[in-house]
Amino acid sequence: MLVLWALLALFVVFPLGALVARAFFDGGRFAPGALLAIARDPNHLRAFGNSLLLGALVGVAGTALGFLFAFTAVRVGLPRGWSAVLDAAALLPLVSPPFTTAIAIIFSFGPRGLITWHLFGLKGFTVYGLGSTFAAETLTYFPLAYLTLKPVLAALDPNVEDMAFSLGSSRRRVFRTVTLPLTVPGLGNAFLLVFAASLADFATPLILAGNDFPVLPTQAYLQITGLFDFKGGAVLSFVLLVPAFVVFVLQRAWVGRRYYVTIGGKTGAETAVKSVAGWARWPLLAGCLAVAAVIGWFYALLAYASVVVALGANHAWTWVHYRVIFTEGLKAIRDTLVIAGLGMPLGGVYGILLGYLVARKAFAGRRAMEVVSMVNYALPGTIVGIAYLIAFNDPPLVLTGTALILVACYVFRYSPTGIRTTVALLQQIDPGLEEASQSLGAGSARTFWRITLPLLVPAFFAGLGVVFIRSMTAISATIFLISINWTLITVRILENMTELSLGPAAAFSMLVVAIVFVVMAALSRLLRRFRTPGRVMVAGLLGG
């Protein structure tokens, strides 16, 4: 327990403290001047406003799209195959590097885009700006809303709707007065998730927003990598902290209030969902399929771009991009796999250990530990990255440039999924099981090893899977932490993008998607082999 606290203090509290200190203090003196200067800088003010605007737009659109998908998947009575298609379409953006959509948009609508240039012969069309950033982020983050809303809608008892029908309501009225209100907490939660993801995303705006639409995370990034101004970066990310914190608090309040779905005691008779008219399912499905088609098109385009010389200019087949990434890029691939491989077991163990302590043991500071363990997860990656950079750049602890800092960053940022899964699983596991073991003479150590731990295996794999996937795909935090010694695929993709060598970027992206899919498939296979109560969603991951 002390070890856990020490680790949390070192890798969560200390960096954040260092960040705040850097933002507010100057040479040991309290100097909020820098903050005020930011507040007066119209450029930064605009970036702040833009960030909020973008987040709100993406939040609304992403939630709407997520609702459309979730509603179609669980309330319309589609044949099984169709909902698998929807699942796949929603999963793809979740497990991809964060800027794959952005690359695909440039391929389609960029200066030499397949659609703008080749199809319509448009010249001088600018893809960069709010519109494309908004579109890319919506497509990237709507799966978060989908995953949040699907269980909410699935748990809505159709008997309640039947009741409304029996009282003479029309379908539309039932939807408006029963279905929708019962989903409102879920919608709120989904909006906040998507909003936060957009707020934290800096890869997409970096590529698509262009100069006329600055947002905070990219500004902070440029401040540090372009101007080496740590203080400016710290201040900017502190400003970003404010809306992130508001979202965090709001979300806890929403979740704290619980969804309405648990009102019934016994479940009612099974009844088919009648709230959707037969004819209405087709436009709903068509809407979803259109979105899925766009996503499919993007990925097909990416795959295509990775095997032609230069998409938009020269469409001759070639393996040269793959040769590039497996020669020049080999180090990045190897580094990424090493770091993901190291972080994976550590994150898995850390997740169930902390989850077990928080859920089952009573000790002073239990709530505090839970909250602290969530902090790095809830904060935008840019903040975490900058905080780590500031904290571990100078003595007493110089970790910048090591693999350790990258592993630590991933473990403490992405293990909360494992922690939450553990807690959720433990809530489903009857304490009576542990008592039964005790009553049969087993001590607490034996009980933990023989009863509790085997039941937590799914949480272990879920936690470990998320850490791995995120280690493969994330960029926002770790871009500040890479070095000559240790680099990452995602960072190489970004470099390729800025150098306009889009072929290798596409090839790298395809590789990441492939690796992640293989690992996910292996994990879900493993999970299926364990008999345990409750199911675990490997894909409940937050982007960034």
């Binding site: 039964a436 005790q438 009553s439 049969l440 087993a442 364990f530 008999r531």
Partner: protein
């Protein structure tokens, strides 16, 4: 087999902090003695403290005061795994990741028995509960009744000194409940193992127990055999909780010599075999069970009443009969002469004169 040990509870008390009510007693000065080989039921409505009491006996919860003795050993300070008890949980608490065999063998493995002895003991006990051949199944592949048997087998295979049951049948359907309670009783008697059984179902308590301790608000309000509780409840709570009852207001006119003469309305009744002390002039309530009331056509000696409702239930008929401002519940066998009065009929009500309990007016 280990010799059956008795259980003694001495003023067990368990408090907890309640958000609204402040400090609340889940159990308060609970004292109880269970003889070796006896099965005693803790009976009461939900929230009466029966499960808390059982969990303190098991060692899952610590009493704030009082002692638990098993045999003559004070186990109050021992952890559950040192008490040598068997516990059957309401939801069975079977280990979902272990087979039936491994579930049952768990306690034996803790004792580090040799593999062949474990196999023999598990086989024997599974045969005893009628689950031979189920060794390799997993709990979730079994029906509720089968899971119940596994839980039972797991609890008895280690030959515990006492068996504790926490509402073990409440998750089964009505028919299975009746069958399982008979099986549990038979098994407990065959093994002559001391047992405490918690339930809120009075019929189940009556069917299974040697003695019943009725609990209310954290204390034992009365204990005794099912019959004693039914015939001579010490309070209105017990009277109403066990079976159906009419509490008829009356006034003692004369008492003495094993007889009590009471006045019900303007009707006099001479009761025989009353144990409760009663003083002349005292206001009391008669504990009259519905099946002890007889009806007759109007006229003759008795209380005048009007049949309000009549419900035919197969082997019996249930009436509600208005007497003055009160309503009496009356149960008659369907074949009896007084089983056919239709609602609205004016009848004469005969209260019993023997086997009637007396409660003070306020109890």
């Amino acid at each position: 087999m280990m010799a059956a040990a008795g259980i003694r509870l001495e003023r067990l008390t368990r408090r907890f902090a309640h958000r609204v009510k402040g400090e609340v007693y889940a159990a308060r000065d609970v004292s109880l003695t269970v003889a070796p080989g006896e099965l005693v039921t803790l009976l009461g409505p939900s929230g009466c403290g029966k499960t808390t009491t059982l969990r303190m006996i098991a060692g899952f919860e610590r009493p704030d005061a009082g002692r638990v003795l098993i045999g003559e050993e004070d186990v109050t300070g021992l952890l559950a795994n040192r008490r040598n008890i068997g516990f059957v949980f309401q939801n069975y608490a079977l280990f979902p990741h272990l087979t039936v065999f491994e579930n049952v063998a768990y306690g034996l493995r803790v004792q580090r028995l040799a593999q062949d002895r474990i196999a023999a003991a598990v086989g024997e006990v599974l045969a005893l509960v009628g689950l031979a051949g189920y060794e390799r199944q997993f709990p979730q592949q079994l029906s509720g009744g089968e899971q119940q048997r596994v839980a039972l087998a797991r609890a008895i295979v280690t030959r515990p000194r006492v068996l504790l049951f926490d509402e073990p049948l409440s998750n089964l359907d009505a028919q299975l409940r009746v069958r399982m309670r008979a099986e549990i009783r038979a098994l407990q008697q065959a093994l002559s193992i001391t047992a405490i059984y918690v339930t809120h179902d009075q019929e189940e308590a009556m069917a299974i127990s040697d003695r019943i301790a009725v609990m209310s608000r954290g204390t034992i309000v009365q204990e005794g055999t099912a019959e004693a509780l039914y015939r001579r409840p010490a309070s209105e709570f017990v009277a109403r909780f066990i079976g159906r009852v009419n509490l008829v207001p009356a006034r003692v006119v004369a008492a003495g010599g094993g007889h009590v003469e009471v006045e019900v309305g303007d009707h006099r009744l001479r009761l025989a075999g009353v144990e409760a002390a009663a003083a002349s002039g005292e206001k009391v309530r008669l504990v009259v069970r519905p099946e002890a009331v007889a009806l007759a056509p109007a006229g003759g000696d008795g209380l005048a009443g009007v049949v309000r409702t009549r419900v035919f239930l197969g082997e019996k008929v249930e009436y509600q009969v208005g007497v003055g401002d009160d309503t009496l519940q009356v149960t008659r066998y369907a074949g009896a002469a007084d089983a056919a009065f239709t609602p609205g009929t004016v009848v004469t009500v005969h209260l019993p004169t023997a086997g009637v309990g007396l409660l003070p007016a306020g109890a």
